[in-house]
């Protein structure tokens, strides 16, 4: 049974909270760092999904970004949470926790 499309939708739904949580937890970080931290427990966010998402979150005012030119061999764009983003993360985490508990109750009944 192919559940790949469903799995992709599940990951897309989780990507925003994952990225915001990673930045809330790890402080200012750049794309590759976010990817490594987000995917430490499994494939949650792909490279190609991350960058448009970061761009959108920056435009929506949830993240701010700055370029650092001197640090490594390549310029890196670092992201951090804005006040709006920082206020949003605990609300999203609470909503996620409620959703997960509700799903667990339903899914474990049918096991």
């Amino acid at each position: 049974m192919d559940i790949t499309p469903w799995l992709a939708q599940l990951r897309k739904g989780a990507a925003e909270l994952t990225v915001l949580s990673v930045i809330a937890d790890g402080g200012e970080c750049y794309g590759l760092q976010i990817l490594e931290r987000a995917n430490v427990g499994g494939d949650i966010v792909s490279d190609g999904a991350l960058y448009p998402l970061l761009s959108r979150l920056e435009k929506e005012g949830k993240l701010s970004a700055r370029w650092v030119l001197e640090e490594g061999p390549h310029p890196r764009k670092y992201y951090r949470l804005t006040d709006q983003g920082a206020a949003l993360v605990p609300v999203m985490i609470q909503a996620w926790t409620d959703f997960r508990q509700a799903m667990t109750r339903i899914v474990e009944k049918t096991r």
Partner: protein, 197 residues
């Protein structure tokens, strides 16, 4: 002289194709995106065992990656400009790829047509009072502009149809705006086609 595909630097080729596909975006946005993806590619290619195929597999083809940026930008821009026509055009442009866009776009078009019909009723009532109105009877319910109004039933609203039609037109206009904004936000959260998360 053009370089053959075999001699092209894969990183430069990817960025060139990405920049081309990003051309609907303003120049500064395009430059910032290409710079960030260039930095990402440099980091990935510097890693152990990096191959072009593996990197493109996770980043997506340049066209797909660009489309994700462009679609988000178009929808965000249309949302923030608050121009209903622009927002409707942006939603309809995605209607063939997304059921949500199709339903929202169709709903908004129906609401706008309905709103315009109410405007027409309000405008034509003073010009052709006998042909515009609400006719109610035991087996009759006619509202709007009729070439031959039913003779046996009386028109029920008179000039009250003017404010009533104007209010209905405004309600249709506002409802279409709310529908499109909610739809656009849903589309931003759930893009129609982009690299897998």
């Amino acid at each position: 002289m053009n370089a053959s595909p075999a001699t092209l630097d894969p990183r430069a080729d990817y960025l060139r194709r990405l920049e081309w596909a990003l051309r609907p975006l303003p120049g500064p946005d395009r430059g910032a995106i290409v710079a960030e993806i260039s930095s990402h590619l440099a980091e990935r290619f510097a890693g152990p065992g990096a191959t072009t195929a593996a990197i493109v597999a996770t980043l997506g083809e340049p066209d797909d990656l660009a489309r994700a940026y462009v679609e988000d930008s178009e929808l965000s821009g249309a949302l923030h400009r608050a121009a209903p026509g622009h927002l409707l055009a942006t939603i309809l442009s995605r209607a063939t790829r997304s059921i949500t866009a199709f339903v929202v776009g169709l709903g908004a078009v129906i609401l706008y047509v309905l709103g315009l019909s109410f405007v027409a009723v309000a405008v034509l009532k003073p010009i052709a009072p006998r042909n515009v109105g609400l006719w109610l009877g035991p087996h009759t319910f006619d509202f709007g502009i009729l070439g031959s109004p039913p003779g046996v039933t009386r028109e029920a609203l008179g000039l009250w149809i003017l404010p009533l039609s104007a209010a209905c037109a405004v309600l249709c206009y506002l409802a279409a705006g709310v529908l499109m904004k909610r739809g656009a936000r849903a589309l931003l959260r759930r893009p129609s086609r982009r690299p897998a998360a």
